[in-house]
Symmetry: C3
Subunit: 217 residues, 3 copies
């Protein structure tokens, strides 16, 4: 049921956030397949769908919300497949793919971090768990993508990847506890996550390395 | 309950399809371990069991059919372990492993694609979901195998790997909707999937690459 | 309910075993991140948490004990995060990390093998399944760790990795069937598993390779 000012998993606002994140990650995964792995159309669309649907599947398994929405709801499957086909049709023509790939990854990360936190709250997990669930949902698809193409995932190598997802989810959880409307909180959380991620990429910021080690290579 | 002419997950026909697929993938995973990774007996049997049981576990998680049949039913564990031991005992003596590995992979793919679709229908998912579930079940074990030994999985690199699994599952779902007996449909679906896969391997067919890119390397 | 002489998943003894295993694997995963992958603090703590919580998550998915305890119970999250931060703070100062990494991995393997078997029995799975569940729980975290950093997992390459976990879980299951107290059985099982693992590492023992192949490289 949709309650005024409250975003739950049945509200159109939640669906819009989650499907937009799905579309962003489908484009991202498929463009990654074109650029790094030079796959054919099936490989491109498959990697796009895994990237788009993976984070939500892990989230729903952890919440015992099975079968996962990304599998049982045809809208997710359709959006992911369309995203993969669009990327396949236009991706080969783009001269530089690195920037759109990075922006789409940051967008998916941000949208899934907030939608994951909202779904966690909706299912009644604790506040810390909702923050972590948001972060897992955000980083899940990209981690699956990187493992499948044999790369060490960005969540391990990039200092500002898990952190912005945690911050974005935290904004949503705090706003919920404060009784603030979740939709503005979700938008603010997503924008904050997106901005931190871009700052990290732009200035190549890593979190500090272990004390006592010489500088990281 | 077994209804005449209908294959559900309680029928002997379903069990035969699923256990044969399990055995084929156990042999395949173990022979892969011998050929590519040169593992000892524990590694050989372990990779065989992961390959044999992985697809069904993912299928059962997505269906919320937990604990997964491949874990809770001793017949699956036994068939997978025996397959791994048989491959270990005889695999080192075979001169060429590439052909049996490929044929067993195609057999497991085909049998799991149809058994996955049948189980999806039996659990009441939609038609599109049943087709996709069949494909996920078919490609799941081999994908887990390839990730564990550090290879980019065949579902991404091989044009005709996901496609035949989708076609095989589609045959089962259409036959079910048409009221045709599922057992003949399952056999036809598996044979069609197997044949398309072999044609793809024989003629090294890839699906088309992205437009605008020079030919794939 | 805690029954005298019986370790179930609600008993303090079970919790102590499981949390100690979690802490050992968090230290292990984080030290591995420092040594092999030279990650920053976020990567170090993230790999520690994945290693610490991964095996229990797979166990709870297989048992349909969802949401997994390692996600829903804040003690697991806290212990895993603290372990990762401790390893980050002190790991860079240690001259040699190989030995503590190996010992912590063996400790986590042993503790999770017995706690996984106990949880399986508590949830009423069969004896063979409880043994295999213990082994999966033991090897799960380390396998996830190795896949994420792009290594072939120890469960495939190291002859005495899955075997000691199976033996440790077997001790617990047999003791339970014999009506012996589970806490002493769990301690004996963990010590036996730990000892076999160390013997394997010390003497570089591999299980035999396939007959007919020249010696493994």
């Amino acid at each position: 049921m949709v309650i005024l000012g409250r975003v739950d998993t049945a509200s159109p606002a939640y669906l819009a956030l989650d499907l937009t994140g799905t579309f962003a990650f489908a484009l991202n995964g498929s463009l990654t397949a074109i650029r790094l792995a030079r796959l054919d159309v099936v490989g491109v669309v498959t990697l796009g769908m895994f990237t788009a649907l993976g984070g939500g599947m892990i989230r729903d398994i952890l919440l015992d919300a099975l079968p996962p929405a990304t599998f049982s709801d045809w809208r997710y499957l359709t959006v992911a497949a369309v995203g993969g086909l669009v990327a396949f049709a236009f991706g080969g023509r783009l001269e530089r793919l690195a920037t759109p790939i990075m922006l789409l990854d940051a967008a998916g990360l941000s949208l899934f971090a907030v939608s994951g936190a909202i779904k966690g709250l909706d299912f009644g997990v604790g506040m810390a768990q909702a923050v972590i669930l948001g972060a897992i949902t955000g980083v899940g698809g990209g981690t699956l993508r990187d493992v499948l193409i044999g790369e060490v995932p960005a969540v391990l190598t990039s200092g500002l990847y898990a952190i912005p997802a945690l911050v974005g989810a935290f904004v949503v959880v705090v706003a919920d506890a404060a009784g603030v409307g979740e939709l503005p909180a979700a938008l603010v959380g997503a924008v904050v996550c997106f901005a931190i991620r871009l700052i990290g990429v732009r200035f190549d910021i890593d979190a500090p390395g272990p004390p006592g080690l010489s500088s990281l290579p």
